[in-house]
Protein backbone atom coordinates (compact mmCIF):
# COMPACT_ATOMS: atom_id res chain seq x y z
CA UNK A 1 0.00 0.00 0.00
CA UNK A 2 1.45 3.34 -1.06
CA UNK A 3 1.18 6.57 0.90
CA UNK A 4 1.59 8.85 -2.13
CA UNK A 5 -1.68 10.70 -1.40
CA UNK A 6 -0.85 11.23 2.30
CA UNK A 7 -1.36 15.04 2.08
CA UNK A 8 -4.94 14.41 0.89
CA UNK A 9 -5.44 11.79 3.61
CA UNK A 10 -4.49 14.37 6.25
CA UNK A 11 -6.56 17.12 4.60
CA UNK A 12 -9.80 15.17 4.26
CA UNK A 13 -9.70 13.39 7.64
CA UNK A 14 -8.76 16.47 9.72
CA UNK A 15 -11.23 18.73 7.89
CA UNK A 16 -14.05 16.21 8.32
CA UNK A 17 -13.36 15.85 12.07
CA UNK A 18 -13.11 19.65 12.51
CA UNK A 19 -16.36 20.33 10.62
CA UNK A 20 -18.19 17.57 12.52
CA UNK A 21 -17.13 18.92 15.93
CA UNK A 22 -17.90 22.52 14.93
CA UNK A 23 -21.42 21.63 13.79
CA UNK A 24 -22.18 19.61 16.94
CA UNK A 25 -20.89 22.30 19.31
CA UNK A 26 -22.44 25.02 17.14
CA UNK A 27 -25.81 23.30 17.55
CA UNK A 28 -25.32 23.37 21.33
CA UNK A 29 -24.47 27.08 21.23
CA UNK A 30 -27.44 27.85 18.95
CA UNK A 31 -29.89 26.22 21.39
CA UNK A 32 -29.06 29.08 23.76
CA UNK A 33 -28.60 26.78 26.75
CA UNK A 34 -25.09 28.08 27.35
CA UNK A 35 -24.73 31.08 29.65
CA UNK A 36 -22.18 33.66 28.54
CA UNK A 37 -19.53 32.35 30.95
CA UNK A 38 -19.92 28.72 29.80
CA UNK A 39 -19.78 29.79 26.17
CA UNK A 40 -16.52 31.61 26.75
CA UNK A 41 -15.07 28.60 28.58
CA UNK A 42 -16.09 26.30 25.72
CA UNK A 43 -14.84 28.72 23.09
CA UNK A 44 -11.23 28.67 24.31
CA UNK A 45 -10.44 24.96 23.58
CA UNK A 46 -12.40 25.24 20.30
CA UNK A 47 -9.16 26.74 19.02
CA UNK A 48 -8.18 23.08 18.46
CA UNK A 49 -10.77 22.95 15.64
CA UNK A 50 -9.03 25.79 13.82
CA UNK A 51 -5.58 24.32 14.44
CA UNK A 52 -6.82 21.11 12.77
CA UNK A 53 -8.23 23.13 9.84
CA UNK A 54 -4.92 24.97 9.50
CA UNK A 55 -2.94 21.73 9.42
CA UNK A 56 -5.47 20.30 6.94
CA UNK A 57 -5.10 23.18 4.48
CA UNK A 58 -1.31 23.28 4.89
CA UNK A 59 -1.21 19.55 4.08
CA UNK A 60 -3.45 20.03 1.04
CA UNK A 61 -0.95 22.37 -0.62
CA UNK A 62 1.71 19.62 -0.33
CA UNK A 63 -0.43 17.62 -2.74
CA UNK A 64 0.14 20.25 -5.43
CA UNK A 65 3.02 20.10 -7.88
CA UNK A 66 3.12 23.91 -7.94
CA UNK A 67 1.99 25.08 -4.46
CA UNK A 68 2.68 28.74 -5.29
CA UNK A 69 -0.07 28.54 -7.91
CA UNK A 70 -2.59 27.27 -5.32
CA UNK A 71 -4.90 30.30 -5.82
CA UNK A 72 -5.47 29.06 -9.41
CA UNK A 73 -7.51 26.26 -7.81
CA UNK A 74 -10.36 28.76 -7.50
CA UNK A 75 -10.45 29.69 -11.18
CA UNK A 76 -13.21 27.23 -12.05
CA UNK A 77 -15.50 28.01 -9.16
CA UNK A 78 -18.95 26.65 -9.97
CA UNK A 79 -17.54 24.37 -12.69
CA UNK A 80 -15.09 22.08 -10.92
CA UNK A 81 -15.93 20.41 -7.61
CA UNK A 82 -12.33 20.80 -6.49
CA UNK A 83 -12.64 24.58 -6.92
CA UNK A 84 -15.91 24.50 -4.98
CA UNK A 85 -14.34 22.41 -2.24
CA UNK A 86 -11.40 24.79 -1.74
CA UNK A 87 -13.67 27.85 -1.88
CA UNK A 88 -16.27 26.52 0.58
CA UNK A 89 -13.57 25.11 2.88
CA UNK A 90 -11.73 28.45 2.96
CA UNK A 91 -14.95 30.33 3.62
CA UNK A 92 -15.89 27.92 6.42
CA UNK A 93 -12.41 28.38 7.90
CA UNK A 94 -12.62 32.19 7.64
CA UNK A 95 -16.16 32.70 9.00
CA UNK A 96 -15.91 29.98 11.65
CA UNK A 97 -12.58 31.42 12.76
CA UNK A 98 -14.11 34.92 12.84
CA UNK A 99 -16.91 33.63 15.09
CA UNK A 100 -14.32 32.10 17.40
CA UNK A 101 -12.29 35.35 17.53
CA UNK A 102 -15.34 37.57 18.12
CA UNK A 103 -16.50 35.28 20.94
CA UNK A 104 -13.01 35.31 22.46
CA UNK A 105 -12.81 39.11 22.36
CA UNK A 106 -16.53 39.48 23.23
CA UNK A 107 -17.06 41.80 20.28
CA UNK A 108 -20.36 42.51 18.39
CA UNK A 109 -23.78 41.44 19.68
CA UNK A 110 -24.45 37.80 20.64
CA UNK A 111 -27.25 37.68 18.05
CA UNK A 112 -24.95 38.73 15.22
CA UNK A 113 -22.42 36.15 16.39
CA UNK A 114 -25.10 33.45 16.29
CA UNK A 115 -26.00 34.42 12.74
CA UNK A 116 -22.32 34.13 11.84
CA UNK A 117 -22.17 30.75 13.58
CA UNK A 118 -25.21 29.51 11.65
CA UNK A 119 -23.72 30.59 8.33
CA UNK A 120 -20.39 28.92 9.18
CA UNK A 121 -22.20 25.68 10.08
CA UNK A 122 -24.02 25.69 6.72
CA UNK A 123 -20.72 26.35 4.96
CA UNK A 124 -19.26 23.37 6.81
CA UNK A 125 -22.03 21.16 5.40
CA UNK A 126 -21.52 22.58 1.89
CA UNK A 127 -17.74 22.01 2.21
CA UNK A 128 -18.31 18.33 3.10
CA UNK A 129 -20.76 17.98 0.20
CA UNK A 130 -18.20 19.40 -2.25
CA UNK A 131 -15.46 17.05 -0.96
CA UNK A 132 -17.71 14.08 -1.68
CA UNK A 133 -18.30 15.26 -5.25
CA UNK A 134 -14.57 15.67 -5.92
CA UNK A 135 -14.30 11.88 -5.72
CA UNK A 136 -17.59 10.87 -7.37
CA UNK A 137 -15.90 10.66 -10.79
CA UNK A 138 -17.95 8.64 -13.33
CA UNK A 139 -14.78 7.15 -14.87
CA UNK A 140 -13.51 5.88 -11.48
CA UNK A 141 -15.76 2.89 -10.62
CA UNK A 142 -14.14 2.21 -7.23
CA UNK A 143 -14.92 5.74 -5.96
CA UNK A 144 -18.19 6.45 -7.73
CA UNK A 145 -20.25 4.40 -5.23
CA UNK A 146 -22.50 5.28 -2.25
CA UNK A 147 -19.71 4.05 0.06
CA UNK A 148 -17.71 7.22 -0.67
CA UNK A 149 -20.25 9.72 0.77
CA UNK A 150 -21.07 7.26 3.58
CA UNK A 151 -17.42 6.85 4.56
CA UNK A 152 -16.75 10.60 4.50
CA UNK A 153 -19.91 11.29 6.52
CA UNK A 154 -19.02 8.66 9.13
CA UNK A 155 -15.56 10.19 9.61
CA UNK A 156 -17.28 13.53 10.31
CA UNK A 157 -19.69 11.96 12.79
CA UNK A 158 -17.18 9.75 14.65
CA UNK A 159 -14.37 12.29 14.67
CA UNK A 160 -16.70 15.23 15.26
CA UNK A 161 -18.48 13.58 18.19
CA UNK A 162 -15.25 12.52 19.88
CA UNK A 163 -13.59 15.90 19.33
CA UNK A 164 -16.72 17.69 20.63
CA UNK A 165 -16.65 15.41 23.69
CA UNK A 166 -13.00 16.29 24.31
CA UNK A 167 -13.66 20.04 23.96
CA UNK A 168 -16.68 19.93 26.29
CA UNK A 169 -14.56 18.00 28.75
CA UNK A 170 -11.64 20.43 28.54
CA UNK A 171 -14.05 23.29 29.33
CA UNK A 172 -15.42 21.43 32.37
CA UNK A 173 -18.86 20.87 30.85
CA UNK A 174 -18.94 17.10 30.64
CA UNK A 175 -22.19 17.14 32.65
CA UNK A 176 -24.23 18.62 29.80
CA UNK A 177 -26.94 16.63 28.02
CA UNK A 178 -25.03 16.83 24.75
CA UNK A 179 -21.87 15.46 26.39
CA UNK A 180 -23.93 12.50 27.60
CA UNK A 181 -25.44 11.92 24.14
CA UNK A 182 -22.18 12.13 22.17
CA UNK A 183 -20.90 8.63 23.12
CA UNK A 184 -24.14 7.14 21.81
CA UNK A 185 -23.73 9.00 18.53
CA UNK A 186 -20.11 7.91 18.31
CA UNK A 187 -20.93 4.29 19.11
CA UNK A 188 -23.70 4.24 16.50
CA UNK A 189 -21.38 5.70 13.85
CA UNK A 190 -18.62 3.23 14.71
CA UNK A 191 -21.01 0.27 14.44
CA UNK A 192 -22.25 1.54 11.05
CA UNK A 193 -18.61 2.02 9.97
CA UNK A 194 -17.80 -1.59 10.93
CA UNK A 195 -20.72 -2.96 8.94
CA UNK A 196 -20.39 -0.71 5.92
CA UNK A 197 -16.66 -1.24 5.48
CA UNK A 198 -17.20 -4.99 5.37
CA UNK A 199 -20.00 -4.50 2.81
CA UNK A 200 -17.71 -2.17 0.85
CA UNK A 201 -14.87 -4.71 0.84
CA UNK A 202 -17.25 -7.36 -0.52
CA UNK A 203 -18.60 -4.99 -3.21
CA UNK A 204 -15.06 -4.59 -4.61
CA UNK A 205 -15.24 -8.11 -6.05
CA UNK A 206 -17.72 -6.86 -8.65
CA UNK A 207 -15.54 -4.01 -9.96
CA UNK A 208 -13.12 -4.72 -12.78
CA UNK A 209 -11.85 -3.39 -16.07
CA UNK A 210 -10.20 -5.44 -18.82
CA UNK A 211 -6.81 -5.09 -17.16
CA UNK A 212 -7.55 -4.36 -13.50
CA UNK A 213 -9.61 -5.89 -10.70
CA UNK A 214 -10.48 -3.77 -7.68
CA UNK A 215 -9.64 -6.63 -5.33
CA UNK A 216 -6.06 -6.76 -6.66
CA UNK A 217 -5.38 -3.05 -6.10
CA UNK A 218 -4.28 -3.24 -2.45
CA UNK A 219 -2.33 -6.29 -1.27
CA UNK A 220 -3.48 -7.43 2.21
CA UNK A 221 -6.58 -5.22 1.98
CA UNK A 222 -8.51 -7.42 4.40
CA UNK A 223 -5.76 -7.41 7.03
CA UNK A 224 -5.40 -3.63 6.81
CA UNK A 225 -9.18 -3.24 7.08
CA UNK A 226 -9.22 -5.47 10.18
CA UNK A 227 -6.48 -3.30 11.73
CA UNK A 228 -8.62 -0.21 11.07
CA UNK A 229 -11.72 -1.81 12.56
CA UNK A 230 -9.75 -2.98 15.62
CA UNK A 231 -8.47 0.59 16.06
CA UNK A 232 -12.05 1.89 15.90
CA UNK A 233 -13.14 -0.64 18.54
CA UNK A 234 -10.25 0.55 20.74
CA UNK A 235 -11.38 4.16 20.16
CA UNK A 236 -14.84 3.34 21.47
CA UNK A 237 -13.49 1.36 24.42
CA UNK A 238 -11.19 4.21 25.48
CA UNK A 239 -13.97 6.76 24.96
CA UNK A 240 -16.39 4.91 27.22
CA UNK A 241 -13.64 4.13 29.72
CA UNK A 242 -12.73 7.83 29.91
CA UNK A 243 -16.31 8.78 30.75
CA UNK A 244 -16.62 6.11 33.46
CA UNK A 245 -13.38 6.88 35.24
CA UNK A 246 -13.22 10.26 36.91
CA UNK A 247 -9.52 10.92 36.62
CA UNK A 248 -7.52 12.03 33.58
CA UNK A 249 -10.63 12.26 31.43
CA UNK A 250 -9.20 14.78 28.91
CA UNK A 251 -6.00 12.75 28.60
CA UNK A 252 -7.79 9.47 27.86
CA UNK A 253 -10.20 11.20 25.46
CA UNK A 254 -7.19 12.73 23.75
CA UNK A 255 -5.60 9.29 23.36
CA UNK A 256 -8.89 8.00 21.98
CA UNK A 257 -9.01 10.83 19.43
CA UNK A 258 -5.42 10.16 18.33
CA UNK A 259 -6.36 6.49 17.79
CA UNK A 260 -9.40 7.61 15.81
CA UNK A 261 -7.23 9.79 13.56
CA UNK A 262 -4.94 6.79 13.00
CA UNK A 263 -7.92 4.54 12.15
CA UNK A 264 -9.50 7.04 9.77
CA UNK A 265 -6.22 7.96 8.08
CA UNK A 266 -5.54 4.26 7.50
CA UNK A 267 -9.06 3.90 6.09
CA UNK A 268 -8.70 6.98 3.90
CA UNK A 269 -5.36 5.79 2.61
CA UNK A 270 -7.01 2.49 1.64
CA UNK A 271 -9.61 4.58 -0.20
CA UNK A 272 -6.97 6.47 -2.23
CA UNK A 273 -5.17 3.22 -3.02
CA UNK A 274 -8.40 1.84 -4.45
CA UNK A 275 -8.20 4.32 -7.32
CA UNK A 276 -8.62 2.78 -10.75
CA UNK A 277 -10.34 3.93 -13.92
CA UNK A 278 -12.89 2.14 -16.05
CA UNK A 279 -10.22 1.79 -18.74
CA UNK A 280 -6.46 1.61 -18.86
Amino acid sequence: MGWHEFPLVVFTVLAQCAVGAFILLGALILTGRLEEASLRRLNRPMLIIWVLMGVAFAASTLHLGSPLRAPNALLRLGGSWLSNEIFLGSLFFALGGLFWLLTLLDKVSPLLRKVLLGIAMLLGVAFMYATIHVYMIPTVPTWNTPFTPLGFFLTSVMGGALLAQLLLNLSGQGYRLMARLLPWLGALAIVVALGSSVAHAMSLAGIQSAIQSAIDLVPHYQSLLIIRLALLAAVLALWLFALRSMRHQPLVLCASFVLLLAAEMLGRNLFYNLHMTAGL
Binding site: S66, R69, A70, N72, R76, V134, I137, T139, T277, G279
Partner: protein, 205 residues
Protein backbone atom coordinates in the same frame (compact mmCIF):
# COMPACT_ATOMS: atom_id res chain seq x y z
CA UNK B 1 -15.30 23.45 -34.90
CA UNK B 2 -13.16 20.87 -36.66
CA UNK B 3 -12.54 17.92 -34.36
CA UNK B 4 -9.24 16.25 -35.16
CA UNK B 5 -8.57 12.67 -34.10
CA UNK B 6 -6.34 9.64 -34.49
CA UNK B 7 -6.81 6.52 -36.59
CA UNK B 8 -5.27 3.41 -35.02
CA UNK B 9 -4.82 0.35 -37.22
CA UNK B 10 -4.49 -2.46 -34.70
CA UNK B 11 -4.46 -5.02 -37.53
CA UNK B 12 -1.11 -3.64 -38.74
CA UNK B 13 0.49 -2.53 -35.46
CA UNK B 14 3.42 -4.73 -34.40
CA UNK B 15 3.98 -2.99 -31.08
CA UNK B 16 7.39 -1.65 -32.18
CA UNK B 17 6.92 1.60 -30.20
CA UNK B 18 8.53 3.85 -32.79
CA UNK B 19 5.56 6.21 -32.36
CA UNK B 20 6.19 6.38 -28.60
CA UNK B 21 9.90 7.05 -29.07
CA UNK B 22 9.56 9.64 -31.83
CA UNK B 23 7.10 11.50 -29.61
CA UNK B 24 9.44 11.21 -26.62
CA UNK B 25 12.27 12.62 -28.74
CA UNK B 26 10.22 15.44 -30.31
CA UNK B 27 8.64 16.50 -26.98
CA UNK B 28 11.85 15.84 -25.00
CA UNK B 29 10.09 13.71 -22.39
CA UNK B 30 11.51 12.18 -19.23
CA UNK B 31 11.89 8.41 -18.96
CA UNK B 32 8.69 7.94 -16.94
CA UNK B 33 6.46 10.11 -19.18
CA UNK B 34 4.91 8.61 -22.30
CA UNK B 35 2.43 10.71 -24.27
CA UNK B 36 1.84 7.61 -26.39
CA UNK B 37 1.61 4.19 -24.80
CA UNK B 38 1.36 0.81 -26.52
CA UNK B 39 -0.94 -1.61 -24.72
CA UNK B 40 -0.48 -5.31 -25.40
CA UNK B 41 -3.67 -7.20 -24.65
CA UNK B 42 -3.20 -10.96 -24.57
CA UNK B 43 -4.97 -14.08 -23.45
CA UNK B 44 -6.17 -17.45 -24.58
CA UNK B 45 -7.76 -20.73 -23.66
CA UNK B 46 -8.00 -24.37 -24.73
CA UNK B 47 -10.76 -25.88 -26.85
CA UNK B 48 -11.61 -29.54 -27.00
CA UNK B 49 -11.20 -30.81 -30.58
CA UNK B 50 -12.19 -34.48 -30.55
CA UNK B 51 -9.54 -36.22 -28.45
CA UNK B 52 -7.13 -33.32 -28.53
CA UNK B 53 -7.06 -29.83 -27.07
CA UNK B 54 -6.27 -26.87 -29.28
CA UNK B 55 -5.01 -23.54 -27.95
CA UNK B 56 -6.78 -20.38 -29.06
CA UNK B 57 -4.51 -17.52 -28.16
CA UNK B 58 -4.66 -13.85 -28.97
CA UNK B 59 -2.33 -10.93 -28.52
CA UNK B 60 -2.61 -7.52 -30.13
CA UNK B 61 -1.43 -3.96 -29.70
CA UNK B 62 -3.21 -0.66 -29.27
CA UNK B 63 -1.19 2.52 -29.59
CA UNK B 64 -3.00 5.10 -27.43
CA UNK B 65 -2.03 8.72 -26.83
CA UNK B 66 -4.69 11.27 -25.89
CA UNK B 67 -7.99 10.66 -27.64
CA UNK B 68 -8.99 14.34 -27.49
CA UNK B 69 -12.44 13.20 -26.41
CA UNK B 70 -15.69 14.92 -27.30
CA UNK B 71 -16.61 14.84 -23.59
CA UNK B 72 -13.19 14.63 -21.94
CA UNK B 73 -13.18 13.35 -18.32
CA UNK B 74 -10.12 15.46 -17.54
CA UNK B 75 -11.58 18.90 -18.34
CA UNK B 76 -14.57 19.22 -15.93
CA UNK B 77 -12.54 18.09 -12.89
CA UNK B 78 -9.73 20.61 -13.51
CA UNK B 79 -9.92 23.36 -10.84
CA UNK B 80 -7.74 25.89 -12.67
CA UNK B 81 -9.07 25.61 -16.22
CA UNK B 82 -5.55 24.69 -17.37
CA UNK B 83 -6.93 21.51 -18.94
CA UNK B 84 -9.03 22.76 -21.83
CA UNK B 85 -10.44 21.71 -25.17
CA UNK B 86 -9.31 24.01 -27.98
CA UNK B 87 -12.17 25.49 -29.97
CA UNK B 88 -10.20 25.59 -33.25
CA UNK B 89 -9.23 21.91 -33.57
CA UNK B 90 -10.89 20.11 -30.64
CA UNK B 91 -7.52 19.09 -29.21
CA UNK B 92 -7.34 18.76 -25.42
CA UNK B 93 -4.33 20.68 -24.15
CA UNK B 94 -2.96 21.61 -20.72
CA UNK B 95 -1.93 25.23 -20.19
CA UNK B 96 1.36 24.62 -18.37
CA UNK B 97 1.54 28.20 -17.04
CA UNK B 98 -1.79 27.80 -15.16
CA UNK B 99 -1.75 24.14 -14.05
CA UNK B 100 -1.27 23.70 -10.29
CA UNK B 101 -0.30 20.00 -10.53
CA UNK B 102 -3.24 18.62 -8.50
CA UNK B 103 -3.45 15.49 -10.71
CA UNK B 104 -7.27 15.51 -10.79
CA UNK B 105 -7.20 15.06 -14.59
CA UNK B 106 -4.94 12.01 -14.27
CA UNK B 107 -7.36 10.50 -11.74
CA UNK B 108 -10.33 10.97 -14.06
CA UNK B 109 -8.92 10.02 -17.50
CA UNK B 110 -9.69 6.36 -18.34
CA UNK B 111 -6.91 6.31 -20.98
CA UNK B 112 -3.94 7.41 -18.83
CA UNK B 113 -3.29 10.44 -21.06
CA UNK B 114 -2.54 13.25 -18.56
CA UNK B 115 0.70 12.46 -16.74
CA UNK B 116 2.30 14.37 -13.89
CA UNK B 117 5.87 15.54 -14.28
CA UNK B 118 7.51 15.82 -10.86
CA UNK B 119 10.39 17.72 -12.45
CA UNK B 120 8.12 20.34 -14.01
CA UNK B 121 5.54 20.43 -11.19
CA UNK B 122 2.57 20.34 -13.53
CA UNK B 123 0.61 17.97 -15.72
CA UNK B 124 1.80 17.04 -19.19
CA UNK B 125 0.05 15.27 -22.05
CA UNK B 126 -0.26 14.74 -25.80
CA UNK B 127 -1.35 17.99 -27.45
CA UNK B 128 -1.93 16.40 -30.85
CA UNK B 129 1.16 18.33 -32.06
CA UNK B 130 -1.24 21.22 -32.72
CA UNK B 131 1.59 23.47 -33.89
CA UNK B 132 2.53 20.95 -36.59
CA UNK B 133 -1.14 20.44 -37.45
CA UNK B 134 -1.57 24.20 -37.93
CA UNK B 135 1.27 24.03 -40.49
CA UNK B 136 -0.51 21.26 -42.37
CA UNK B 137 1.75 18.50 -40.99
CA UNK B 138 0.68 15.39 -39.10
CA UNK B 139 1.73 14.63 -35.50
CA UNK B 140 5.24 13.20 -35.16
CA UNK B 141 3.98 9.77 -34.04
CA UNK B 142 1.86 9.38 -37.19
CA UNK B 143 4.68 10.25 -39.58
CA UNK B 144 7.17 8.00 -37.78
CA UNK B 145 5.11 4.80 -37.86
CA UNK B 146 6.98 2.28 -40.06
CA UNK B 147 3.81 0.23 -40.51
CA UNK B 148 1.69 3.24 -41.51
CA UNK B 149 -0.68 2.08 -38.78
CA UNK B 150 -1.48 5.58 -37.50
CA UNK B 151 -3.26 8.51 -39.10
CA UNK B 152 -4.52 11.88 -37.98
CA UNK B 153 -7.23 13.96 -39.64
CA UNK B 154 -10.56 15.68 -39.01
CA UNK B 155 -12.97 13.11 -37.58
CA UNK B 156 -15.38 13.33 -40.56
CA UNK B 157 -12.56 12.26 -42.85
CA UNK B 158 -11.53 9.41 -40.53
CA UNK B 159 -15.13 8.18 -40.25
CA UNK B 160 -15.52 8.30 -44.03
CA UNK B 161 -12.26 6.44 -44.68
CA UNK B 162 -12.11 3.98 -41.77
CA UNK B 163 -15.54 3.58 -40.14
CA UNK B 164 -16.77 4.33 -36.64
CA UNK B 165 -15.21 1.84 -34.23
CA UNK B 166 -13.83 3.66 -31.16
CA UNK B 167 -13.70 0.83 -28.61
CA UNK B 168 -12.16 -2.63 -28.28
CA UNK B 169 -10.75 -4.34 -25.19
CA UNK B 170 -8.93 -3.21 -23.10
CA UNK B 171 -10.23 0.30 -23.81
CA UNK B 172 -13.20 1.60 -21.79
CA UNK B 173 -16.61 2.01 -23.38
CA UNK B 174 -16.58 4.92 -25.86
CA UNK B 175 -19.82 6.17 -24.32
CA UNK B 176 -17.88 7.37 -21.25
CA UNK B 177 -15.92 10.19 -22.90
CA UNK B 178 -16.55 10.04 -26.66
CA UNK B 179 -12.94 9.46 -27.75
CA UNK B 180 -11.98 11.05 -31.08
CA UNK B 181 -10.45 7.90 -32.49
CA UNK B 182 -11.23 5.33 -35.15
CA UNK B 183 -9.86 1.82 -34.68
CA UNK B 184 -9.33 -0.87 -37.25
CA UNK B 185 -9.43 -3.93 -35.00
CA UNK B 186 -6.94 -6.73 -35.05
CA UNK B 187 -8.49 -9.94 -36.38
CA UNK B 188 -8.23 -11.37 -32.86
CA UNK B 189 -9.57 -8.25 -31.17
CA UNK B 190 -11.90 -8.76 -28.22
CA UNK B 191 -14.97 -6.60 -27.79
CA UNK B 192 -15.03 -3.83 -25.22
CA UNK B 193 -15.94 -5.20 -21.77
CA UNK B 194 -13.94 -8.37 -22.34
CA UNK B 195 -12.05 -9.58 -19.28
CA UNK B 196 -10.62 -12.86 -20.59
CA UNK B 197 -7.25 -11.30 -21.44
CA UNK B 198 -4.71 -9.32 -19.48
CA UNK B 199 -2.25 -6.52 -20.01
CA UNK B 200 0.91 -8.29 -21.11
CA UNK B 201 3.27 -5.30 -20.73
CA UNK B 202 2.23 -3.46 -17.54
CA UNK B 203 5.72 -2.03 -16.99
CA UNK B 204 5.79 -0.46 -20.44
CA UNK B 205 2.68 1.72 -20.12
Amino acid sequence: MTQYGFYIDSSKCTGCKTCQLSCKDYKDLDVDINYRRIYEYAGGSWQADGDTWQPSIFSYYLSIACNHCAAPACVPVCPSGAMHKRSEDGLVVVDTDTCIGCKSCAMACPYGAPQYSARKGHMTKCDGCYERVAEGLKPVCVESCPLRALDFAPMEELHERYGNLAEVAPLPSASLTGPSIVIKPNRNARPVGDTTGSLANPKEV
